[in-house]
Symmetry: C2
């Protein structure tokens, strides 16, 4: 839990009691490379913290697999469009490497919000921050060429290339594998 508490402290300090309450609704998850952590069609009821490994959220559009986002160590990952609406998700979470996570039961977490305003505040801030990231992502894909998007990704997370297959990066950038290969070939 130590990494998780350090992560929380970036947003909001918690009392020992609150930390214990979260620990009580959390459990470790070990998962192998290329396994789905959460399957398509299930309603999101777990918020994951990544201790080790790389995750991606993906979905299908016309039989083509599209990667929505990546997440690395010391970050939270969840399919928020299901988490916050209670509807089944059309998306899956897959671990790209052998991974260790902490799963936090979200219905129980939302219950804790009533007893611990500090926990509600913590997750409010976590998701506000994630919301800002998503707004910035809209900007990055709205009016930039594929090459600009690729270069921005390299600048933003240079380790992506070492850890994530190009086919996933391509759809994340909104282009085909072949186009990405062409862009990379230019330099």
């Amino acid at each position: 839990m130590n990494e998780l508490i350090t992560y929380f402290n970036q947003f909001n300090h918690l009392s020992d009691e609150a930390i214990k309450a979260i620990a009580d609704i959390s459990k470790p998850v070990i998962i192998k490379k290329n396994q789905d952590l959460q399957a398509i069609g299930h309603t999101c009821r777990t918020i994951y913290f990544i201790k080790k490994g790389v995750a991606r959220i993906y979905y299908f559009k016309d039989d083509i697999e599209i990667t929505e986002c990546f997440a690395f160590e010391n970050a939270i990952i969840a399919r928020v469009e299901s988490l916050f609406t209670g509807k089944p998700s059309r998306k899956a979470i897959q671990m790209i490497e052998d991974s260790e996570l902490i799963g936090i039961n979200s219905p129980k977490l939302f219950e804790l919000y009533n007893k611990f305003p500090e926990i509600e505040r913590l997750f409010r801030k976590i998701f506000e921050s994630a919301y800002v990231d998503t707004v910035n992502r809209v900007e990055s894909i709205q009016f930039h060429s594929a090459e600009e998007r690729y270069n921005a990704l390299l600048k933003d997370s240079p380790n992506v290339l070492q850890r994530v297959p190009l086919k996933y990066i391509a759809s994340y950038l909104g282009i085909t594998q072949v186009s990405l290969s062409r862009i990379r070939g230019i330099r």
Copy 2:
């Protein structure tokens, strides 16, 4: 304030005391068509509720103006990447029609969170919902053709066409005015 309270009730019911506290930090704003409600470079310190009118958030990329989003009656609008970070915004909010709004002072609102957990909860839910909308927007622009995005917009908000100039719609869709005109011409 009545419209605003109705809007709030969609997310979380407030006590009379909490409503009064929000009313005390809010004030009406009347603004003419095509005026900027908030200018580029200012830090966002007001969350607006639109009673009447249409808003858009825009910014410049290489001297080209890009529309990030639209907002209509009975919705909140704010430049969240500035609201939640405290940094100056590179974006502006403009009203596309003669408009009436309610401006809520955000630093004072965030103060109220300490006294009224119900207000913190309300805005948590409001922004969680906006976050989900933004995640869905990423999906819509990530791997759809310009024509698909245009048709999706028409389906989603058919009144956009009547109330928003096409030049704004074009950059919102991530294409040039000329391309949009061509897409529209096909039918």
